[in-house]
Symmetry: C2
Subunit: 240 residues, 2 copies
């Protein structure tokens, strides 16, 4: 009897994986994943059978992992949390009677937030700007509602070559509801090699620093920058 683990490796650096994710991968016979993610855990999977596939081969990759899991212990790995814009959904949709377990990992917004301070301390939402599977009109509607509800907003997949102007258009929507000094953080490669971050305000925002490996976090109406740190207050009364 085999088993399929859908494993989140978190941001990509070994030390931000959970102990459970490490253990599950170590105990697996076969590792399946997108080439780039496989590379991130290469020290952990020496001497294992590895099946890596290119980008946008998600359905094929999940099919293969499910098939193999009938007779083998298999881990299909991805960065972040497989349950948030990851592979957990597709695996469970395609599953027939295979034994599947989801191993959660640190999602990109948590990783990015920890680098710039504490921007997600209050009600917050994750919105992907990728329109591959979501109409852009719905994405913009969600931005508008999140902005009007004063949610802190984390943007996943904020920019790609095919839709360079979406991010700027979405920031313009948020501007209708928030002051110009509202903080925005751009975090690239959060908690992994190549990490960079930059803080802006709605008024000073420059989308040219943003790429597909970035997360963009927009504060709520109470967020502020203090000594280079992005804080959204939870509301505690602090004695002076």
């Amino acid at each position: 009897m085999g088993k399929l683990y859908v494993v989140g490796i978190g941001p990509g650096g070994y030390e931000n994986m959970t102990l459970r994710a490490v253990k599950v991968i170590e105990n697996s016979e076969i590792i399946v994943g997108y080439t780039k993610y496989i590379e991130m855990i290469k020290d952990l999977i020496k001497n294992k059978e590895v099946i890596s596939t290119g980008m946008r081969a998600e359905v094929e990759r999940c099919k293969k992992a499910l098939e193999l899991s009938k007779d083998h212990v298999v881990s299909i790995v991805s960065t972040g949390d497989p349950g948030i814009y990851g592979m957990a959904g597709l695996i469970l949709e395609m599953r027939k009677d295979e034994d599947v377990e989801v191993i959660p990992g640190l999602t990109a917004s948590s990783a990015a937030a920890s680098i710039v301070g504490a921007p997600l301390m209050h009600d917050n939402c994750n919105i992907s700007l990728s329109d591959l599977m979501t109409p852009y009109e719905l994405i913009k509607k969600r931005i508008e509602l999140a902005a009007s509800g004063d949610f802190v907003i984390s943007l996943y997949n904020p920019k790609s070559k095919g839709r360079p102007h979406y991010l700027k258009e979405c920031i313009d929507i948020v501007k209708k509801y928030r002051k110009g000094d509202t903080p925005i953080a751009v975090v690239k490669n959060a908690l992994r090699e190549g990490q960079e971050h930059k803080l802006f305000t709605l008024d000073s925002f420059d989308d040219s620093v943003v790429d597909m490996m970035s997360v963009v976090i927009i504060g709520n109406s109470n967020s502020y920058i203090k000594d280079g740190v992005f804080i959204t207050p939870r509301g505690y009364k602090i004695p002076q």
Copy 2:
């Protein structure tokens, strides 16, 4: 020179901590935290100085941790991700010139989601129903906007003795926007001792099983239950 780590231990079970969180705690001289969280990591902090305080002593606890961090390496620990409804914000708000680093952990919605399937696969938001620091009118407004934007909704602090009817009222708001067969998951003590979960629909929802240790996840208009698993499709085309 001391240092203060604001450490998320994740759901509470040792194996869902990150390697980095374990290492940082092991390397700290003093551990500060709410009594209940300290208990969860007791095997990790034998022979360390431990300062535990009761519930709602957040400001006092953070003040103490900051003070001690001037001359010692200190970890202030909490469950989940300290950057999401945790202690990172308060610490950074109160900080003067202390050296502070936030160590992210698995947040409750990720942990809960992994147990019931893949409910958070699309745009989603976290809303706390605690009105200790947020007016209930604003909470209800956020529920309404999130429901109308078809976000998957994770409710933190869904119920307490002082506000037993909030959850039901919020579910009633969601009902105005979603079909009666929309899945709802209640997950109690996700990925720690005492774990329990139950799936409902908007129509069958029974709030009597919910307590303060639960997270409630409400699906979007495409979410469904398949063989006891809660799935929100990301939108991939699956060959039949």
